[in-house]
Structures are given as C-alpha cells and as structure tokens.
C-alpha cells in the first residue's frame, strides 16, 4: 500500500519519515460561507471555468453573440450616428434566442450532473440545510444569466458615452440605462428559476436540455401565433399609428415567459416597442403572471429538493 510512505514533505529542521494523520486545527466556516462557496463553484461551472475547453464553447459563443449588437453600436456611434439600440429591450429576438440556448445548455450543467451521479447525499451529509443546495444553485444561475444580459448592456452604454459630450448627455444615457438594467435583472431571475426547475426534473443532461429548449421555444412561438391570429392577418400591430390592439392580442403574451417579461416591462412604463402589443389595461395581469411563474418555479425547486438525495 502506498498510503504508508510519507510524501508530504519534511517539517522544520528535521526529517519526518511518516507524518501520519494530522488533525485539522484551523477554522471551520459556517453554513453561510459553505453556501457561498457552493454558489461560487456553480457560477464558475456555468461558464466552464475549471472544466475542459469543451465546457466553455457554449457560454463563450453565446456571450460573444449577445455582445455583437453593442459592438456594432459602438462603431456606428463613433461614426456620428445616435445610439440605435434601446436599453430596455436590447435586440429582443436575439436576446430570446441566445438566452434559450444558454439556459438549455447550462442549467443542466448546474443541477442535472449532480442528480445523474447521485452526489446529493454527499452535500446533504454536510452542514447544509435541505434548501441551501437549490438556493446556492439558483443564486449562481441568476448571476450567470445576469452576466449574459447586463454586460452587453454595459458595453452598449460605454460605447455610447465615449462619444457623448458633456455631463448632461452622459446623465441622460445613464438614466436610460438604469431601467434597462432592472429589466435585465427581472429577466435573469425569472429565466434562471424556470431553467433550473426544468433541468432538475431529469438527471440526463440531454433530456433536461430538450425540456428547457422545447418549453421556451414552444411558448414563445405560441405567443407569436396567438398575437397574429387575434390581431388578424394584414393588420400587424406594433404600437404605432394609434391603432388599438384587440383584447386577444393584448393577452396573447401571457403564455410565454419572454412575452410576460415584455408585457411587464411595458406595463411598468417601458417605451420601446416590443414583440407584443402594449397590454393596456391588462398590464397588471402581466405583472401577476410574472410573479406566478416565479413562485411556481421556486416552489417546484423546493419540492424537488426537499426529498431528493436522502433515499
């Protein structure tokens, strides 16, 4: 057995043949620090840090694609044009597609792996409480989504203010940016929660990825179809020209998380045209739907991890 050969080096000024077992006398961190460590570890693994090159492909590519509009904006602003991308919606379609890919690829990385290899009993036999695990994972994934959404916004902002003249112009940009950042936070929280709960349904990464992609894509397409059908062919309503949207069109956005996010944005005062007509009086319904979706996702996570891993 190799265990007997002391290989951990000699002590001060003398040869130690076999240091044997050494007790740990240092500090032990509490539960909060352990949860933070788990969150940090998960955040790193969301971007493939500490893993092989293969694990970095999706996060890097999606991040770069997400940043392209901000870069293009910086170039066009440098040539004298005004900022062309709104902070509150960014490029909506691009954001939807990139986030679906990012979440479908990486939420399973955070939770399905542990389910698949049955690592959970090892976490739960440590000084963590039952819900600390999903909480740390959720916090990590919200931060990951936040980075995906907000960093391009910051690039957009920086690219614009480099050409801004005077404090008032910069202040104007900053005031436009802040609601954009808050809406990005709303996106990150809701999408991360939905993504994680869907991923936690299966230990098989392929199934989890499929479930997430299908859920987000189908509801997104469905919302589009409902909008079209209720608005009527040939009368596309896009918030301009004083045309009033039909009730059906106003409600069509409730079926997809992305359109719920956008309906809430418009209800809260977002001015840029979005993928759905302004919800009008139904605005609060979008806000309620957002909270409902979030609550459902969080409850799902709690239920999923209340029992997992002990048996």
């Amino acid at each position: 057995m190799t265990a007997d050969t002391g290989t951990a080096g000699a002590g001060h000024g003398g040869v130690i043949h076999d240091i044997g077992y050494r007790r740990y006398e240092g500090p032990r961190l509490g539960r909060a620090a352990i949860v933070r460590a788990l969150c940090w570890h998960s955040l790193r693994s969301a971007f493939g840090i500490g893993r092989g090159a293969k694990a970095k492909i999706v996060p890097v590519i999606t991040f770069v694609i997400m940043c392209l509009p901000a870069v293009a904006n910086a170039v066009s602003v440098a040539q004298g044009s005004p900022r062309s991308i709104p902070y509150d919606t960014y490029i909506f379609q691009l954001r939807v597609i990139v986030m679906i890919i990012f979440i479908a690829a990486l939420a399973p990385e955070l939770v399905s792996r542990d389910l698949r290899s049955h690592v959970l009993p090892l976490y739960f036999s440590r000084p963590l409480r039952r819900l600390d695990y999903p909480l740390a994972k959720l916090a990590a994934f919200i931060l990951a989504c936040l980075a995906m959404i907000e960093i391009p916004l910051l690039f957009l902002y920086l690219g614009t203010i480099t050409q801004a003249h005077g404090g008032s112009a910069i202040w104007h940009e900053t005031r436009a940016l802040i609601p954009g950042l808050l809406i990005g936070l709303m996106w990150a929280v809701l999408l991360a929660a939905i993504g994680l709960v869907l991923a936690s349904l299966s230990g098989r990464r392929a199934y989890s990825t499929g479930t997430i992609a299908i859920f987000f894509f189908l509801t997104w397409i469905l919302a589009g179809i409902l909008d079209k059908v209720s608005t009527g062919q040939g009368q596309p309503f896009r918030g301009v020209g004083g045309q009033v949207a039909t009730t059906g069109a106003q409600l069509s956005g409730l079926v997809s998380p992305f359109t719920v996010l956008d309906g809430t944005r418009q209800w809260l005062g977002g001015t840029s045209p979005g993928p759905i007509p302004p919800p009008g009086n139904y605005g609060p319904l979008y806000g309620a739907m957002l909270l409902l979706l979030l609550a459902a996702a969080l409850t799902g996570l709690a239920v999923r991890y209340r029992k997992a891993g002990v048996a």
Partner: protein, 327 residues
C-alpha cells in the same frame, strides 16, 4: 498487506474520551407508507470501530440517516457526539464523515477537485480544503492517481475516493454504509485494512455497516446487530468471541485411531468434519490429549481452544427469539 490489528483495549489516543459517541433511546422510525424501519432501538456506541450488522432491510441505512439528522424521527431520541440528531443535525454533520452505500461520484472530474470541493462543503477554507484533500487521498492510497478523472478509476479506487471525501473534513466520527460492497476479495480486505487503520491510528470513531458479519467482525471492537429495526445484540467483540472450553484437535491422518485412543483415556471426543472436539474438564485433559497423540505417533496439525464464532452467537440469539415468539 499489513497484519490485522489486534483488538484494542481502550479508546485510541485523541478519540473523544469515554463518553458515548452514539446514544439512542427507544428510537422509532415509521415511514408514511406504514413501514416500520426502526422499532424502539436503544443502543450506545462508544469510541473505536463499531460494526453495524443486519440483513438487507434491517434498518441500517435508516439508522445512519437518522444519526446524520437527515430523516425525522417518529419517536424516541438519538444523540451523536453529544448533539441531538433531531435538533443539531448541522453540528453533527460538521463533525461526521459519511460514506454512502451507493455510487455517488461524478465521472468527469479529478479525485483532487472532487474531494477539495467536498472539503469546502465541509466548512474548510480554500487552502485547507486543498491540503486536506491531498492528504486524505494519500491516506486512502490514491496519491499517485489523484489527478485522474474519477470515471477512469476501478471500483476499488472509487470506494477509496468515497472514503477520502468522508475523511476530508477531519471528522470525529465516520459513518460508513457498506464500504466493501461490490469489491473483489482483495479489494475488500484492503478496504477493511484501511478502515481499521483510520480507526486505530487516526483516532476517529467509526461505525461500519455490513450485511455480511464475517466480513467486518475482524476489524471491529464492538458489534451492534439489528434485525427488523430492533436491536438483536450489542456487545464488545471480545465477549462475542470468548474462548470456549472445547479443544480442537486436527491430525493429518489416523483420526479414527485417535478417536478410539482418546475414548480409552476417559475423554469424550466428538468428530466434527476434519477435527476432533474434546471438552476440557481439567488441565489433565491437555496431558491426556498430548500423550495420546505422542503414543500413536500421529502428525498433529492443529491443537487449540476453540473460539466461538460470532455468526453462531447471532444464530443462537435468533433461535432464542424465535423460540420465545413461538411460545
């Protein structure tokens, strides 16, 4: 292969003093489906290595999960290292290393990364976690291979990683659930050596569960046997294997002649497969046996006082139980 360690007389140096490591009183666990996993279990486990034996489904795993504070108790009480398992599960888990029965390792990370991460999860600061992960892997004999992905390991090496992750937080107590399961005989015996080393030299108390008594009896100081969620017997290993007043004589040939000779000398020899058993009455019995063999000029192979085998005691106990139930 190192020699088996002799049974230890007292607690190992550095072990928590004579206070009980585990103490339960009328511990009962009923699952919602109506299955009673533990039924009024009262047992005290001291420092050292304790074997937890029982057939599959006897309640061993449930017992361990209750000790870790992972399962709610239906009634009764359980304390580990002086902490109540229903109330202070976190403290218990801070001081306890757990090795689950089933496979629990991700294939695509290295042993070092994995054990380091779980060291962090045990509350070690980053640098300490790294150091202790390397040390734990060295203790379980995986120092050379520690940068390989776990998926490339053999079953025996995986079991060692599971042991290392239980050791990484420098626990006062280790709960090992069927650590030898799935191992070949060589792997089994080196795993048992390792456990016995951890218990004896590292001063960590160990509870090791197994459904095969013969396997763990050699490394235990104490045995707890449960069946159907109830305590069958809890005793020190020495009392289990007391020498009996029976002499075992084994000769290479001439067993029949010896049998007749011993009977002629006034002993009552019994044949037991390839050995003769003689009841020891006085010291003269030894002389009579010696003289008989010498006079016949037989090649003596074995002459010893028989040790009672632990399995027999459990069977005796079970038989008694059955007899009592029948009455």
């Amino acid at each position: 292969m190192t020699a088996r360690l002799p049974l230890r007389a007292g607690p190992a140096p550095g072990a928590p003093d004579s206070t009980a490591v585990i103490e339960t009183a009328a511990l009962t666990k009923r699952y919602p489906a109506g299955v009673t996993a533990l039924d009024g279990l009262t047992v005290t486990v001291g420092p050292g290595i304790t074997g937890l034996v029982g057939s599959n489904g006897a309640g061993k795993s449930t017992f361990i999960k209750i000790l870790l504070g992972l399962l709610p108790i239906t009634s009764g009480r359980a304390a580990v290292l002086g902490h109540d398992s229903a109330r202070d599960g976190e403290q218990i888990r801070m001081l306890t290393g757990y090795m689950p029965e089933h496979d629990c390792l991700p294939p695509d990370v290295t042993a070092t990364e994995f054990v380091t991460h779980l060291g962090r999860m045990s509350g070690l600061p980053p640098t300490a976690a790294k150091e202790r992960a390397a040390e734990s892997l060295r203790h379980v004999g995986l120092y050379e291979e520690r940068y390989r992905q776990i998926g490339t390991y053999s079953t025996g090496m995986k079991q060692r990683v599971k042991l290392a992750q239980a050791l990484v937080g420098d626990p006062r107590l280790m709960l090992l659930d069927e650590p030898t399961i799935g191992l070949d005989p060589a792997g089994r015996s080196s795993m048992l050596d390792l456990i016995s080393r951890i218990g004896a030299e590292f001063g960590i108390s160990i509870v090791v569960s197994s459904h095969l008594l013969g396997e763990i009896e050699q490394i235990c100081d104490h045995l707890v046997a449960i069946d159907g969620g109830r305590l069958l017997r809890s005793d020190s290993m020495t009392s289990f294997t007391e020498v009996s007043q029976v002499l075992v004589i084994e000769v290479d040939e001439g067993m029949g002649k010896l049998l007749a000779e011993l009977a002629a000398r006034g002993l009552r020899p019994q044949q037991d497969e390839r050995a003769l058993l003689v009841q020891i009455e006085t010291d003269a019995t030894y002389d009579a046996v010696r003289d008989a063999i010498a006079d016949l000029g037989l090649p003596l192979n074995r002459l010893e006082q028989r040790r009672r085998h632990v399995e027999e005691l459990f069977h005796d106990n079970e038989n008694e139980e059955e007899a009592r139930r029948d009455r």
